[in-house]
Subunit: 151 residues, 2 copies
Amino acid sequence: MRLNDLDERIVHALAEDARRSYADIGELVGLSAPAVKRRVDRLRAEGVITGFTVRVDPAAMGWETEGFIELFCRHNTSPADIRRGLSRYPEVVSASTVTGDADAIVQVFASDMRHFERVLERIAGEAFVERTKSVLVLSPLLRRFSSGAPA
Amino acid sequence: MRLNDLDERIVHALAEDARRSYADIGELVGLSAPAVKRRVDRLRAEGVITGFTVRVDPAAMGWETEGFIELFCRHNTSPADIRRGLSRYPEVVSASTVTGDADAIVQVFASDMRHFERVLERIAGEAFVERTKSVLVLSPLLRRFSSGAPA
DNA sequence: TATGAAAACATCCAACG
DNA sequence: CGTTGGATGTTTTCATA
């Protein structure tokens, strides 16, 4: 499922502003509005574009505290187990299994330090978790694309 | 800059589908289309909503390889220096200064391992970088919200 | 200060060439 | 893929609470 240059430029335009009109995008990439719509529809059908979402200032949503939690899991813990365990936490915005010492890296948004600590303790108490190591975000420097499935 | 219940429900509706019409959202939250638009306009003006973007399957974009790079920087490196240095890499999708041993955590998408390695070497060669430590993502388990400023 | 109704305007999208 | 035109959505104006 390879994208050509036109598709990439359309996706890029949508990444910058997903509410931009098809006519605007068409002007940008040299296509008519319906042609752009047809490509966007095709990209959605193919699963390249999985949806449209809003970019939000976390602080404004009351999420003042952000951090990463490294998970060291018990033996015989599958990625699916981790996923299932973590999906119940609304504070978890992203999680991945990784190479290296830790088994997974989990990104968490919390309202404040107390909230973050409470989430950390609950995650550390999960049956499949052996120990954790966490770092707090001081300043978010860059936040670019959005990917994957909705909440 | 506190949000009331109505604002939160509007933001939530947009987070699920940013191209949903104002009339649809209005029906959902019990407002007319113009009332929803005015609130969205206000949220944008206040910086709560920073934009609208598309959710993309990274693999479909040709980004098969994902990883985190911990940055250990030279003394007197400011967050702005790191931001400036990293913003030139299109492969960098997120970066934050953090507590703990490392100074910053950088999330990178690359087309394959060779590409990832090339980016890693170039970042490690930046003047402000002393050393790096990186892990590769094995499986992305969860990907939820989008936040922050556009590219 | 915030709302809804309505009108003017823009965009979308299915049909056709 | 582009053009067309009726349907749908957006945005301004206006009156009201």
